[in-house]
């Protein structure tokens, strides 16, 4: 079943009088349970595509079907609701709230969820998520007391708290050393295989892309290459 379908998505930025086309007709289908890497040089439009996929931005033209719903024309508030329910985000710089405990960071998206959880239920669910990412003994630590890898794992727990079908990761290992990068990537793989979560990550690091079972290479606003990498099974090599 196809979770995400893009049909000739275009995005043009208006810079004063000049229209700058960034995406020039992207068509793409991502099935549930895929682990996709989106690569390309800077300026290739991968971040713009990511923003559109993540419902943070609207395409200028084209159709975007997410989980059987055409969403390219939704209003700002409707998209916010959609992000809350169906999408998770992991950022390069973690974006954790400073001076706020890990468990509270993880529970934060629940504040905006439609379902009304009590304070206790929210904490229980956040704790459960943190245990799942292996931070059972770090529940009340503040971000400043956590290592980079741990911080990113808190961010992953936060992204998954509303149990979304899709997880977006924007350069998830960009701020991590190679050892912790590996840990985070393994976690992605586990979430992908065990929980069937569709993961789409933007990266320009071929080693990171090697963990994906599908690599989409972009250049100058179009998809250059969409294939299963040769090293898909032996990413650690």
């Amino acid at each position: 079943m196809e979770l995400i379908t893009l049909r000739s998505i275009e995005k043009t930025y208006q810079m004063g009088d000049i229209a700058v086309p960034v995406l020039k007709g992207i068509s793409l289908a991502i099935r549930q349970g895929e682990l996709v890497a989106l690569t390309g040089s800077s300026g290739s439009g991968k971040s713009t595509l990511m923003n559109i996929l993540g419902c943070l931005d609207r395409p200028t033209a084209g159709e975007y079907w997410l989980d059987g719903q055409e969403i390219s024309q939704l209003s700002t508030d409707e998209r916010a609701l959609l992000r809350n329910r169906k999408l998770g985000f992991v950022f390069q710089s973690f974006n954790l709230l400073a001076r706020t405990s890990a468990i509270e960071n993880v529970a934060m998206p629940l504040t905006y969820a439609a379902e009304d959880l009590s304070e206790r239920e929210a904490r229980e669910r956040a704790a459960e998520m943190l245990i799942r990412v292996g931070l059972a003994d770090r529940l009340d630590h503040h971000p400043s007391q956590l290592s980079g890898g741990q911080q990113q794992r808190v961010a992953i727990a936060r992204a998954l708290i509303n149990r979304p079908p899709v997880l977006f990761a924007d350069e998830p290992t960009g701020n991590l050393d190679s050892k912790t990068s590996e840990e985070v990537l393994q976690m992605f793989e586990r979430l992908n295989t065990e929980d069937k979560i569709t993961i789409i990550m933007v990266t320009h690091d071929p080693k990171v892309a090697g963990h994906a079972n599908r690599v989409i290479r972009m250049d100058d606003g179009i998809i250059l290459d969409d294939a299963v990498p040769t090293s898909a099974t032996g990413g650690k090599a």
Binding site: L81, R83, F91, N95, Y112
Partner: protein, 456 residues
């Protein structure tokens, strides 16, 4: 859950930078504190002021007889004789808005003590209630005359400070005897100094005696403001100090026989008095008091519906007006000061909230990315501002109340705790939070999540 969670988020956000939150609220703390302190001290001063002005006679009503006119010539207020001592008693008895009343007769005659003489501004005949009406109950020396003195027409009097100075050269007059138009009076008390009234009339240049004594032994007629002693001391009358009615006028007409008397009775009506002085319960009750007094007097004087009043009621309109304008001025002044300090505090809040929004751009972007709508962000920052202001307001109330208590303790100023001020302070500080927190919150809610997430 949602409101509670928002409030909790706000508290947490503020706790992340407690020093800045403290400094931000300082404006509101000082503003609200100043308002509370000013309101409490102001209310106390206002009450004290009211009391002072009331002691100047703001509550006093003067009831005088109406006007007589003949052939188009009016003789001015008080030229008829329509008021009786019984009117005064009836006013006191039947008007709930009147706290006290006294009949009064006036004289202006020569007073002699030893080899000195003096014509006081006024010699008043009244009842002991006069002292209460004039808020003059505390005497410098001696004691006031009693109702029994009034009934018996006893020749006792109280003298003002000017009399003490002019007749007694400062020595204590209590127990001394003075002669008022050749009638011997014993001085039994000295009034406290009152100074001039608003017309510049020396209120200490006065002698106070039972009205019966003044009326029947001294004047025998309605008062005029001229010196009566010269005209009525005729050379052919026998000068005796104990003459009961020394000034009784010689009959103009020959003595009438009993038959004549029965056939054409002389219209001798009653013991008339010059005026009645009454005190309203408080200055706010004056209009009510005037109405009640008018009703009582019209009934007693048997005036029909269409007939004009045969009396005048005057209040101290000028004093009352002064009183109300002073109070209003005071309140407005305090309000202006309060508004300025609160606006200053609010601007401080707005500044810090703007800084906070800029500083937390990434947090806002993140919250939007995980599903916060614009109105969620707006609410969060608005609640934060209101929490800041309310916290500041609470601290301000404590500070202001403590300050005013301190003022009361150290400076002995009158202070009144005002619940309205406290309630207003809470409302106003919440209002300031909403008004000045709105712009930063609105700005935050309008951020683009992509831009915000990229913000360094």
């Amino acid at each position: 859950m949602r409101v509670y969670a928002t409030a909790r988020t706000a508290f947490r956000a503020l706790r992340r930078n407690p020093m800045r939150a403290m400094l931000t609220t300082l404006g509101i703390v000082i503003g609200v504190g100043a308002v509370i302190a000013m309101m409490e001290i102001g209310a106390g001063s206002s009450t004290a002021l009211k009391k002072t002005i009331a002691s100047m006679g703001a509550n006093v009503l003067v009831i005088r007889p109406g006007t007589a006119s003949s052939g188009g010539v009016s003789f001015g207020a008080g030229s008829t004789t329509t008021l009786t001592p019984e009117d005064s008693q009836a006013i006191l008895r039947e008007c709930p808005a009147i706290s006290n009343a006294t009949p009064m007769v006036r004289a202006r005659v020569q007073v002699v003590y030893g080899n000195r003489n003096w014509v006081p501004n006024a010699i008043y005949g009244a009842t002991p209630a006069y002292l209460d009406v004039q808020d003059w109950t505390i005497l410098a020396q001696g004691e006031p005359f009693s109702d029994r003195d009034v009934l018996n027409g006893n020749r006792v009097c109280l003298v003002g400070q000017t009399i003490v100075r002019e007749l007694f050269e400062g020595e204590s007059p209590v127990g001394k005897e003075i002669r008022i138009k050749n009638i011997a009076f014993r001085v039994i008390g000295v009034l406290t100094p009152k100074g001039a009234n608003m017309m510049g009339f020396d209120q200490d240049d006065v002698i106070l005696a039972p009205w019966t004594t003044i009326k029947y032994r001294v004047t025998g007629a309605s008062a005029s403001t001229s010196n009566q002693s010269a005209s009525s001391t005729s050379s052919d009358s026998v000068n005796t100090l104990s003459n009961l009615y020394p000034t009784a006028q010689r009959s103009l007409y020959p003595e009438r026989s009993a038959v004549q008397q029965a056939n054409t009775p002389m219209p001798i009506r009653f013991a008339n008095i010059d005026q009645i002085m009454a005190a309203a319960i408080n200055s706010g009750e004056i209009p009510m008091a005037i109405e009640q007094v008018a009703a009582v007097l019209r009934e007693r004087h048997r005036l029909r519906a269409g007939e004009p009043d045969d009396f005048n009621i005057r209040d101290m309109a000028e004093l009352t007006r002064t009183l109300s304008t002073t109070t209003k001025l005071m309140t407005n002044l305090l309000l202006a000061v309060a508004m300025i300090s609160l606006v200053v505090g609010g601007v401080g809040i707005m500044n810090i909230m703007l800084v906070s929004v800029t500083e937390r751009t990434r947090e806002i972007g993140l919250r939007m990315a995980v599903g916060a709508r614009g109105k969620d962000i707006l609410r969060q920052f608005l609640v934060e501002a209101v929490v800041l202001c309310l916290t500041g307001g609470a601290m301000g109330i404590v500070l202001g109340h403590g300050g005013s208590l301190l003022v009361q303790l150290l400076l002995k100023w009158p202070v009144e705790t005002s619940l309205t001020a406290i309630a207003a302070a809470v409302l106003v500080s919440a209002g300031v939070g909403i008004i000045f927190g709105f712009y930063p919150a609105w700005k935050a809610s309008r951020l683009d999540p992509i831009e915000a997430l990229r913000y360094e």
